[in-house]
Symmetry: C2
Subunit: 344 residues, 2 copies
């Protein structure tokens, strides 16, 4: 990993955005750059990155349009959550040897002033868990489900991308909360995983099932909470199966992120009126002040075996970023997808 | 009106649904039937109907699909709100000479047991106001705007169909609440009415303006509350112009009621995520227990001149129902549309 000399100088590799993808990103959308490790200013520290988080939301950051964060600029290091080890520091609170989590980007080293950085507490969980169940993934599941889903015991909760990073946590939170929990996943293997490993009450194989009939079978009293990670036809069909006063939480729309033209909106949205229902979007960043409380609760549930934190950790080099990132859109990972560069 | 003999017997005319409309209703979708005025059972009273309410929602009741009310059956009297005079009574609370408002249907006489019937208090308002600003129209505006819009003084409030029955009231409630109020209406005359008579801060002529640019001009800080009566392109463009934590209230979708195929959903719905916004449907019926409080407040504002209750009252016969109903979809009425059959 990189080429760090004893005096702290050296070079490392980062992945920059070379051009904006049209549709599904291709390798040529990125450029690999070798950069000098900068010297540290006052209050800064240097992180040797060990694991990089790969999330569907990253695709949205590549498009040049107004969103909740500015788009990644051409020539800028690709934005990504990551964990790593502090290897030098001019910062009063982050010491050499600390492991930390932050938005360090797709690169081997990062300089930070500590903004938005969390020190990893090994008593709570592992490094990878700080990207998954105890990181932004877990925070997204926790605040999305509890604050916007407003679940009551006995509610029927439907989760799309149920075998994915966020969906797998949401389903387990719903079970902890006494809800009837139905997950959507692609293919029989993922559906088996959702039921047998994650403890959902039922799974719907959206690639092979009749969605409407499956909802009617598994949600006979209608859907009280629909946690949506995918958009598209699944969202639209879920709208047609709402219970009264249902809550739809818009967390993401992976089915649409790579679309090259305008994708159809949910034509069944008038069900919101008929069912007096709510469709609400949220962003986890708005809950930053409550992360530490949520992280402790999630860690307790994980320790108690009430939550498993599924992970797909791919060992590799920083140069493998594109290939691993693409697995998100091929739908062939379960749980949190992580590129582990600690061995290189 | 009808043919009532001194002994209380006689015949009257009602409008029944003859077949389900495909798209815009045509005259042949209705049948006029002459019926005997029935005798009154215990606890019943007979109403001679004077005014019939014409509402976009009535179109939805004609389609054979699950909704918040069962569809009007073929051969059934068309459902409609109406006001009239009690002319005979076996009911302890409704006396001869009382004027009442209820879902009496499109007919000259109705028998009622008092369920859902409100006695008109002439100190609060006129008969037509009990169909408009003090009736379901006013209730819809009041609960939709206050309970679901959750307006704060200074909010930018956008109302579609702003010259219509509900929209005209919503805009005036927004002004009372200290909001910056922008209405959408079709054509320069309606837009002038919205600003000059109803007191909106601005109007957008959706038939002639560039919607996106008009929103940007009149809502420079984005839309905090969008009260939607129309759906379609206006809803979709409003989604692209939301302020943070915006609230979209789905009250209706008149642009879609006569569509003969599936209409596109709002493709910009992911703005809900970016703007942490809420899109919520509601039905006024859920607030029945609070109607009398809302009616008193609306009547006070009307007396104080803070609300005008625009009405288009068309004198005619029950046989004119279809022609007057169609004015709703031609968009050539302002305010509450009423068929006044009291002269016949």
């Amino acid at each position: 990993m990189g080429n760090l000399r004893n005096d702290g100088s050296g070079t490392y590799t980062c992945v920059q955005l070379a051009r904006r993808p049209a549709g599904l990103p291709v390798a040529a959308d990125w450029s690999l750059e070798t950069t000098d490790i900068p010297g540290l200013g006052l209050g800064q520290f240097l992180v040797r990155i060990t694991m990089i988080s790969l999330d569907p939301a990253m695709r949205g950051w590549l498009d040049d349009r107004p969103s909740y964060l500015p788009p990644v600029a051409i020539g800028e290091v690709m934005r990504a959550g990551a964990v790593g080890e502090v290897i030098s520091s001019n910062h009063p609170r982050f010491k050499i040897g600390d492991f930390v989590q932050g938005t360090f980007g797709v690169q081997e080293y990062a300089v930070s002033d500590g903004t938005g950085v969390t020190r990893i507490d090994p008593k709570l969980g592992t490094q990878s868990m700080y990207l998954g169940a105890l990181g932004m993934t877990g925070m997204t599941a926790y605040f999305g489900f509890f604050d916007y889903g407003r679940p009551r015991a006995g509610d029927t909760v439907v989760v799309s991308a149920a075998a994915g990073a966020v969906g797998s946590i949401v389903g387990q939170l719903a079970k902890i909360n006494g809800c009837h929990t139905v997950g959507l996943a692609g293919g029989p293997d993922k559906c088996a995983f959702v039921v047998n490993e994650l403890g959902f009450d039922a799974a719907i194989d959206y690639k092979n099932a009749n969605l409407r009939e499956s909802f009617q079978q598994h949600c006979p009293a209608g859907i009280d909470v629909y946690f949506d990670n995918v958009g598209g036809a699944i969202l639209n069909t879920a709208l047609s199966q709402l219970a009264m006063h249902a809550r739809i939480i818009i967390c993401g729309a992976i089915s649409q992120y790579n679309a090259e033209s305008v994708t159809p909106g949910p034509s069944n949205y008038l069900a919101l009126l008929v069912r007096r229902a709510t469709m609400q979007g949220f962003l986890v960043f708005d809950h930053a002040g409550e992360y530490s409380v949520a992280r402790k609760r999630l860690a307790q549930w994980a320790k108690a075996g009430k939550i498993i934190a599924p992970e797909t950790i791919v060992p590799g080099k920083i140069t493998d970023f594109h290939e691993v990132f693409m697995r998100l859109f091929a739908g062939d990972n379960t749980g949190k997808l992580i590129l582990d560069i600690s061995g290189h």
